[in-house]
């Protein structure tokens, strides 16, 4: 079984892109399953179910969704193997720009959209920087020039990635994406000993542990103060 992780900021079109890619897999008779990670709520599993493929969702609740992702990914891989999948797709919540749930040797796709603003590639960090494939969406509603400029910005953050423009509505480009994300000779049998491509953001302060009160004396652990300049 091969495995791909999809990541990207909220509302960038991850689910639409994955749906269109899965439709191509189904047409090619490749057995595919999806696990969707999210934080509080997701309906995406229902969309995937309509394609009649095995689907699971994981809600991280009060935990950081990407930390939750890493702590569960082995079980998810085992589930995929039990389902006899050819390819297992995971979709991340895409909440914080600092995170990237990419694993060495597991294909990493970052979905980002043309409407998100010219500085977004710079803001996203490891999620974009360390991706193998960058899928750019919503190109059908912005001008050619803006698409070109946006692509250049992505290249300056991740010159190694293959950049693909895919239309999440009509699926233009999804077939091509499906051919480069799946390799029938590449198998992920176990994640033991594998590493994340980039460390996740550090946490563990009193607020991580449920503190709600505001004020210096309630702040413990990993705390950092904002620099507002010299006091007058």
């Amino acid at each position: 079984m091969d495995m791909i992780t999809f990541s990207g900021p909220p509302s960038s079109g991850k689910t639409s892109i994955i749906m269109k890619t899965i439709e191509s897999f189904i047409r090619r008779e490749i057995k595919v399953g999806v696990v969707k990670f999210d934080c509080l709520f997701t309906d995406d599993d229902l969309f995937y179910q309509k394609l009649n493929i095995p689907v699971r969702k994981g809600l991280s609740g009060s935990l950081c969704p990407d930390h939750y992702f890493v702590s569960n990914i082995e079980e998810v891989l085992d589930w995929g193997k039990e389902q006899n999948l050819d390819i297992l797709i995971t979709e991340s919540a895409g909440l914080c720009n600092r995170c990237s749930p990419y694993i060495n040797d597991v294909k990493a796709v970052c979905v980002i959209d043309n409407l998100s603003g010219i500085n977004t590639p710079k803001k996203i960090g490891p999620m974009l920087k360390s991706a193998d494939i960058v899928v750019v969406t919503k190109g059908d509603i912005v001008s050619q020039a803006e698409r070109e400029v946006f692509t250049m910005k992505i290249e300056s953050v991740n010159p190694k990635a293959t950049i693909l423009h895919v239309n999440g509505l009509n699926g233009q480009g999804a077939y091509e994406l499906s051919t480069i994300v799946y390799d029938d000779k590449h198998h992920i049998d176990s994640l033991e000993g594998k590493k994340l491509r980039y460390p996740m953001p550090a946490a563990v302060c009193s607020y991580c542990l449920g503190e709600t009160r505001i004020g210096k004396k309630h702040q413990m652990g990993n705390i950092r103060k904002i620099d507002l300049g010299e006091k007058l």
């Binding site: 010219i118 710079k122 001008s143 070109e148 290249e155």
Partner: protein
């Protein structure tokens, strides 16, 4: 690559390849003050906290820097290919029967319209061309560029993009004025004599647009016709893609004939998917698509050309009525246009 990052200082590197500055800045690597050091020396002296704060990975950054320099240099080399020819070999209809044409060739400066009912496979044809299909798409068509199939890395490289797109639904989304926008695009394309090109695009766009706009107009405030005019002029002159794919051009606020002439003059291959009879007949040829396959390739006949002239007269009349109503006039029969 002749560049030895172990020997060259960051400052010299930036002088040699000015675009490297963007790479440092977009990767949030604070090189300022370390210009005399090499990139390796920089990483050995920089505070670890800075690296962690900005989510920098040293190995990834350095190998990325080398890739980026190669990538950007490849843009310089490949400017304006002299000849471009696209050849399409037949694939299959949705029902599995083979398409009936032998082969189809497009040359630069040609306008080809694509007609067919919605869902007939127009987008698939355009995607086959865009990805230079090699019997590996649902239609199994084969597309050759200048007589050869593209290598996988060429097909998926963003810099080699064959097709630029213009469609009715496209809008400008950046908060920039016309001049700032053109400057940004020209800078990212790394063209020489940038100011000359920007001026040329600006003048052309105004020629195409019905209503004149200034350089200081925010692009998001342009009217539909003005936006379309600017997009077409910009794509014709500044985009590196040899093929322009147009999905309808609305009739209002833009001179469609001039727009096509501009694209042809800039040596583009224009593929135009349309339901509008005037646009369909403006092409040198038209491709008729049905059930996922190319059904016919029709050269425009003499009779059709004279019908086109009539249609254009009708179109003019319609536009003049439109303008009269806009300026408060009352319409009358038998009036001189």
């Amino acid at each position: 690559m002749s560049l030895d990052l172990k020997k060259i200082s960051i400052g010299d590197l930036i002088v040699k390849h000015p675009f490297v500055k963007d790479f440092f800045e977009n990767q949030l690597v604070p090189y300022q003050g370390y210009e005399t050091k090499t990139i390796y020396e920089f990483f050995s002296v920089i505070d670890y906290e800075v690296i962690e704060e900005n989510a920098i990975n040293e190995d990834l950054f350095i190998s990325g820097l080398i890739d980026y320099i190669d990538l950007m240099n490849s843009y310089f080399v490949k400017e304006k290919e002299t000849e471009i020819k696209i050849t399409i070999y037949p694939g299959y209809y949705k029902d599995g029967t083979m398409e009936k044409f032998e082969k189809l060739e497009f040359h630069k400066g040609e306008v080809i319209s694509i007609v067919g009912p919605t869902g007939s496979g127009k987008s698939r044809l355009l995607a086959d061309i865009e990805w230079a299909a090699n019997m590996d798409t649902p239609t199994k068509r084969k597309v050759l560029i200048n007589g050869r199939a593209l290598e996988p890395h060429e097909r998926f490289s963003a810099s080699n993009k064959l097709v630029a797109q213009l469609s009715q639904n496209m809008n400008f989304v950046m908060d920039l004025s016309v001049i700032e926008f053109l400057d940004l695009h020209a800078t990212s394309r790394m063209v020489e004599d940038k100011d000359v090109i920007i001026e040329k695009i600006f003048i052309k766009a105004n020629e195409l647009a019905g209503e004149v706009f200034s350089k200081d107009t925010p692009i998001t405030e342009l009217s539909g016709g003005q936006s379309r005019a600017l997009m077409i002029a910009d794509t014709a002159i500044l985009s590196s893609s040899p093929i322009i794919l147009i999905d309808e051009i609305e009739n209002a606020g833009i001179d469609r004939k001039k727009a096509l002439d501009l694209l042809v003059k800039e040596d583009k291959i224009v593929l135009m998917s349309t339901h509008d009879p005037i646009l369909a007949l403006m092409g040198d040829r038209r491709i008729v698509i049905n059930n996922g396959g190319i059904e016919k390739i029709i050269e425009v006949t003499k009779e059709e050309r004279s019908i086109l002239s009539e249609l254009e007269e009708l179109d003019k009349k319609l536009m003049s009525y439109r303008n009269k109503l806009r300026y408060g006039k009352i319409l009358k029969y038998e009036e001189e246009l």
